[in-house]
């Protein structure tokens, strides 16, 4: 099924087209989400929300970019939304526990072990993920998409809606900041 047929099928509410979309892109969306939110359960939630959003808003997709670019864009936006809500929950934890539905975790999330990392690198990767979590949002997205999804700077620029030099600059600053954070931790 080519992309145009797939989009047309989705617009017509075709169940098979939706199944094809999910099976084709589920690993990319899930891997992006897990790399940003750094939690297995949250990653499944976020990635499912991405497909639900695609299912509901396919009529708004103008086809100016590739379907995969659109999916990456939704996945990164949704993941950042979750990180923001996690941060605000942490900040107003007491009040939210009073008024929320009581499912919020009361503890800090443990160090994240990315399932795709080689065993001998797991310890270093966990430290790197802790540092990545401290990066500004744009740098975090650029670095994660490049290192964990192997996207080119060109593809990242399309996902983030920016230019290639801007992505290069983001990557450069991300590496600088990561070095600073890691050096500070080593002291």
């Amino acid at each position: 099924m080519n992309e145009q047929d797939l989009i047309q099928g989705l617009r017509n509410g075709d169940e098979l087209a939706f199944k094809y979309l999910v099976l084709t892109y589920q690993d990319r969306v899930y891997n992006t989400a897990i790399s940003i939110v750094q939690n297995v359960g949250d990653a499944e939630d976020v990635s499912q929300e991405v497909f639900i959003q695609v299912y509901r808003s396919i009529h708004h997709f103008k086809g100016e970019s590739k379907l995969s670019t659109w999916l990456y864009r939704i996945a990164t936006t949704r993941s950042l939304d979750l990180l923001r809500s996690r941060k605000s929950k942490k900040r107003f934890g007491f009040i939210q526990r009073l008024f929320g539905d009581g499912n919020e975790p009361l503890f800090e999330l443990p160090d994240f072990n990315h399932p795709g990392i080689l065993l001998e690198k797991k310890e270093n990767a966990a430290r790197l993920f802790r540092a990545i979590a401290q990066l500004p949002e744009n740098q975090k997205i650029a670095f994660t998409l490049h290192k964990l999804e192997n996207l080119s700077y060109q593809e990242i620029s399309q996902v983030m809606g920016t230019s290639v030099p801007a992505v290069e600059s983001l990557m450069h600053r991300a590496k600088q900041n990561l070095r600073k954070i890691l050096e500070k931790e080593a002291k």
Binding site: D27, Q48, I117, K121, A125, L178
Partner: protein, 109 residues
């Protein structure tokens, strides 16, 4: 010491090299469909969240208080009105309001 630290940092930075893409969990599509189908039935659940329940109770309490206070004022006004009516009816019964009854003090019976 500095060189060693730099080496360690570089080692950490390169720890993501060769990282493999993680596959979505088993039965991902089935679970996604279940979520999509279950969502329509769950749409009312937000209304049962404690914050909305507490807000609704507070609103109810406020409305009750306002109605009660207003009712009390009206009751006291009505009571004073009733008293006036009773006074007037007694006055009328005993012709106390009759200002036309002139007593001619010079008139002999």
């Amino acid at each position: 010491m500095k060189i060693e630290s730099n080496k360690k940092v570089e080692e950490i930075l390169s720890s993501l090299d060769g990282c493999q893409r993680v596959s979505a969990p088993d039965f991902y599509y089935t679970r996604l469909r279940a979520r999509m189908e279950g969502r329509s039935g769950k749409s009312y659940n937000w209304i049962l969240r404690p914050i909305y329940v507490v807000a609704a109770l507070l609103l109810l309490l406020t409305v009750n208080t306002i109605v009660l206070l207003k009712g009390q004022n009206e009751t006291s006004t009505t009571a004073s009105d009733n008293l006036e009516v009773i006074q007037q009816s007694i006055a009328a019964e005993y012709s106390l309001n009759d200002n036309n009854s002139m007593y001619d003090l010079n008139q002999e019976k």
